[in-house]
Symmetry: C2
C-alpha cells in the first residue's frame, strides 16, 4: 500500500530508504521477541473507529475479522508491547507457583527476593552497579520515598537549614503533586522551576530537586549531568524521574553521581500495564536512606516479626509491603528481551528512527500543519516525536482507527513513541503516510 500514501515523489522515495534502513538495522531480530499485531485489530470491531465510545460489548456479534494492514504501535512510551516470553511465564506463575506450590513459592520460587533480583536486571540499563535498584510500588509512591529521603539526608548535613524542594515545572503531574506532599510532610516549601533553570536556581536552602530526565509531553531530554553537578555544588540532592529514559537511552546514574532516581517499567521496559516501578538509591547514600514507608519488607530481619524497625542494608531498604508477584514476574520475563542488547545501540537506532520520522513528516504534502515540539538536536531529544497539530485529539482518534497507535496529550500534541527493540523504519514511514492521509481527508 505504500504507493498510496504520498502523492509527492519525494515522500514515496522514502519507502525505499525505510526498507534499506531496516535491512541493515543491527537490532532488527529483536522485533521477533515481541507479540506484534500483523492484522489491524480495529477491523474486527466496528466501534473502534471511535475509541472514546468503544465498549467490548458493542463489538460486531458475528466476530467477523477483515484483515487490515498491520498495526503500527507507536505508544511504547506509554505502554510497551508484549514480549513473547511473558504469557507462558505468567501462566506458570499462576498455575504452578501459586496454584500448586502456594505459600512455599515465597522461598522455593524466589518470590521474596524478586524486587532486588529484578532491580539488578534493570540496573545495567541505567548505568548502575548491582545492589542499588529495587523494584516495587508505583512511580508515585517511589517519588514520595525518594523526595522525603532526599530532604532528610540534606537536612541532616551541616550548614544552613534547607527548607526548599525544587520540582521540574513541566513535570508529569504526579511528580508535582507528590513532591508537594513530600515538601509538606518535611516542612519544606515547593518551588516549580523550568528544568533548564534548576541548576541556576538551586541555592543554600535547597534540599533536593526532582527533575524528569525526558519531558513526557515534548520528548525533550534534560541535562542530567550538568543539573546533578550544580545541585551537588550547593549541597542539594538530585532526584531524577527516568520514566521516559529507562530503556530508551543511556542514563549513567553512577557515573554522573545521581543521588536517587525512580521510574516506571511499563514504557520502554515493556513490563506490562501498571508493572511495578523502580527506585535507585546511590550506594553511598543507602545507610542514610530514611524511608517514609518503612514497611516490613525493608526490615533487616522481616520474619523475626519484631516490633522495632531496623532497616535492611542495601537496595532492599527501598522496599515496603508484600510485592505484587504477578506483575513483578511478568516484568522479569519481559526483561529477557534485553539479553545481548547494549543501551548505546538502542540510542543510536532511536535517534535514527526519530530523525527519519521527522524527515517523512517534513516531506508530507500537508506537513506544514505539523510543528515538531521535540527538539531537533540529538543531545536534547528523548525517544519520541511530539508534533503540535490543530484538532490533535481528533487526528489521533483517526490515526488509531487506521491502525497507527500513538497518543494525544493536551492541549494539541500528537505523541509517537520510538521503541528501537520493535519499531522499524518502515513503521515510521507508514505512520507518517497515514498521518498525511488523515490530514488530507480533514482538509
Amino acid at each position: 500500500m505504500s504507493e498510496a500514501y504520498g502523492p509527492a515523489a519525494e515522500f514515496a522515495g522514502l519507502a525505499k530508504r525505510a526498507a534499506e534502513l531496516d535491512l541493515t538495522d543491527p537490532l532488527r531480530s529483536k522485533r521477533t521477541e515481541f507479540v506484534l499485531d500483523d492484522t489491524d485489530p480495529t477491523a474486527a470491531n466496528p466501534t473502534a473507529a471511535n475509541p472514546t465510545a468503544a465498549n467490548p460489548s458493542d463489538a460486531d456479534p458475528t466476530g467477523a475479522v477483515s484483515p487490515g494492514p498491520p498495526v503500527v504501535y507507536l505508544d511504547g512510551n506509554s505502554l510497551g508491547a508484549l514480549p513473547a516470553a511473558v504469557p507462558s511465564r505468567v501462566a506458570d506463575v499462576v498455575a504452578h507457583e501459586w496454584g500448586r506450590l502456594g505459600i512455599r513459592s515465597w522461598t522455593e520460587s524466589g518470590w521474596w527476593t524478586a524486587p532486588e533480583r529484578i532491580g539488578d536486571r534493570i540496573a545495567p540499563l541505567l548505568g548502575a552497579a548491582p545492589g542499588q535498584v529495587v523494584v516495587g510500588d508505583s512511580t508515585s509512591v517511589n517519588v514520595l520515598k525518594a523526595v522525603v529521603a532526599a530532604v532528610r539526608i540534606a537536612q541532616s548535613g551541616a550548614g544552613a537549614a534547607r527548607d526548599e524542594v525544587l520540582v521540574d515545572a513541566t513535570t508529569f503531574p504526579t511528580d508535582g503533586y507528590v513532591a508537594e506532599s513530600a515538601a509538606r510532610l518535611t516542612g519544606c516549601a515547593l518551588r516549580a522551576v523550568e528544568p533548564h533553570e534548576i541548576a541556576a536556581t538551586a541555592g543554600p536552602r535547597t534540599a533536593a530537586a526532582l527533575v524528569n530526565h525526558v519531558d513526557y509531553r515534548t520528548g525533550r531530554l534534560h541535562d542530567l549531568p550538568g543539573t546533578t553537578a550544580a545541585l551537588h555544588a550547593v549541597g542539594a540532592l538530585a532526584v531524577w524521574d527516568l520514566c521516559h529514559s529507562a530503556g530508551a537511552l543511556p542514563v549513567g546514574l553512577d557515573v554522573h553521581g545521581v543521588d536517587l532516581a525512580l521510574g516506571c517499567t511499563y514504557k520502554f521496559l515493556n513490563g506490562g500495564p501498571g508493572a511495578p516501578a523502580f527506585l535507585y538509591v546511590r550506594r553511598g547514600l543507602q545507610p542514610r536512606f530514611d524511608s517514609p514507608l518503612p514497611g516490613w519488607n525493608s526490615h533487616a530481619d522481616p520474619f523475626a516479626m519484631s516490633a522495632g524497625y531496623h532497616p535492611a542494608d542495601g537496595a532492599a531498604r527501598g522496599r515496603v509491603g508484600t510485592p505484587d508477584i504477578l506483575s513483578m514476574l511478568a516484568l522479569e520475563a519481559a526483561l529477557e528481551v534485553w539479553d545481548g542488547v547494549a543501551i548505546e545501540a538502542v540510542r543510536v537506532k532511536s535517534l535514527a528512527l526519530s530523525d527519519f520520522f521527522l524527515e517523512c513528516v517534513a516531506a508530507l504534502p500537508g506537513g506544514a500543519a505539523l510543528t515538531p515540539l521535540t527538539p531537533l538536536p540529538h543531545a536534547e531529544r528523548g525517544s519520541q516525536v511530539a508534533l503540535r497539530c490543530a484538532d490533535a485529539e481528533a487526528v489521533m482518534g483517526e490515526l488509531i482507527a487506521r491502525g497507527v497507535v500513538g497518543d494525544f496529550r493536551p492541549p494539541d500534541v500528537l505523541r509517537f513513541g520510538v521503541t528501537p527493540l520493535y519499531t522499524s523504519f518502515s513503521d515510521m514511514y507508514r505512520a507518517a503516510g497515514v498521518l498525511g492521509e488523515v490530514l488530507d481527508d480533514r482538509r
Copy 2:
C-alpha cells in the same frame, strides 16, 4: 488412610463426624471453584522435605512423581488458594488486552476504572455500601494513607490539640513501623497499647488509633464496635486493619461507623501473591480525606494533566499511581467465587471448622504438647487456629513435608488457617492426624 492416624478410638471416631459435617456443609460446592492439589507436590521433589533448603534446581532430575495423599492447604490466612477462574482470565488480560489492544485497554477493557470497580466488589463482604472502597498499592502503603489522613482530619477539628497516635501493641509489624512513620510525618507521638486497652487509653490528645481486627499470630478477634465507639467518644478516629478478617467474617464497617480501614486481598479473598490491598474511607469523611500520596490517579480530571492537584470525589481519592493491572484483574477474577455467598454463612462454617479442629487436637494422644493460643469463645476468635508447641518451626517443616501446609510464627506458634470456601472438615481431621503423627515421631 484415616485409620492410620490416631490409635485412640476417640480420635478415629472423629473421621466419621468429619465426613458427616462435609456432607451437610452448605458451602461444600464452592470447593470445586478452586484449584486444589489432589496429589502431594512434595512427592515430586525430594528436597521439599526440608523447605528451608529447597531449590527448584535441586529437584529430582528424573521428574518422577509418586502420588501421595492430597495436600491439606491450611495457609489461606497467608496466601489464599488459586480460584479456578483466574488462569484463563489472566491469560486473556496478557494476550488480548495488553498484547493485542495495548494502550486502548485503559478505556476499552476497563483497566482505568478497575480500582473502584473491584473495591465495590469487595465492599459487601466488609459491610460497606458502594463507593467507599478502592483497591491498589500494598497494605503498608494504605496504612500510611489512612493514618496520615485520619490524623489530619482529627487535627482539623475544634478542641484540644491532638498529637498522639495509638497503635495495637500486638500488631503485625508493618502497621507499627508505618504508623510510627505517619506519626513522625504529622508531628505526633506514637503509643503502643494492647488492643483491649485502646478504648480506655484514648483521650483528648488522641488523633487516631490503628488496630488489627484479628491478631495475625494468635487469631484473636478484637472488639471493633466497642473500640470504635470509644474512640469516637473522645473525638478520635478509628483505623482498622482487616487483613485477617476481610472475607473471613462479618466486619460491619458502615454499621459500626468505622472511619478508615484497609487490608490485603491475598489471604481470605484469594487474590494471589501480593495482590493489591484495599482502602475504605467512610463516605462522610471522603471530602476531608487528605492523602499523603496524592498521585495523578486520584485527581478529579487526571487526563487534563494539570499542574494543580484537585482531588477526585469518592473512593477514587484513595488512588495513587497507575494500578498494577495484571495483579488487579487476577483479583477481580478471584472474587467471582463470592457469587451467592453470604459472609455470615462463611462465619458459621469457619467457627465450626475451628471448633472441630480444636476438638481433634484435644483428642490426639499427644495433644497435651499443644496449647491453643486462639481464644475458645467464638466472639474472640478469627478464622485460624494457633497452637503453641515446642520446636514449632521444625514441627511445621515436618507437617509441610507430609502435605499439611500451615505456617510458623515466632517464637513457638503453629498457625492453621481456616478458609470455609475450600476447607473441609475432613481436611481439619487429616491435619490433626498428621500433626499427631509428627509429634509421635518426635518423641
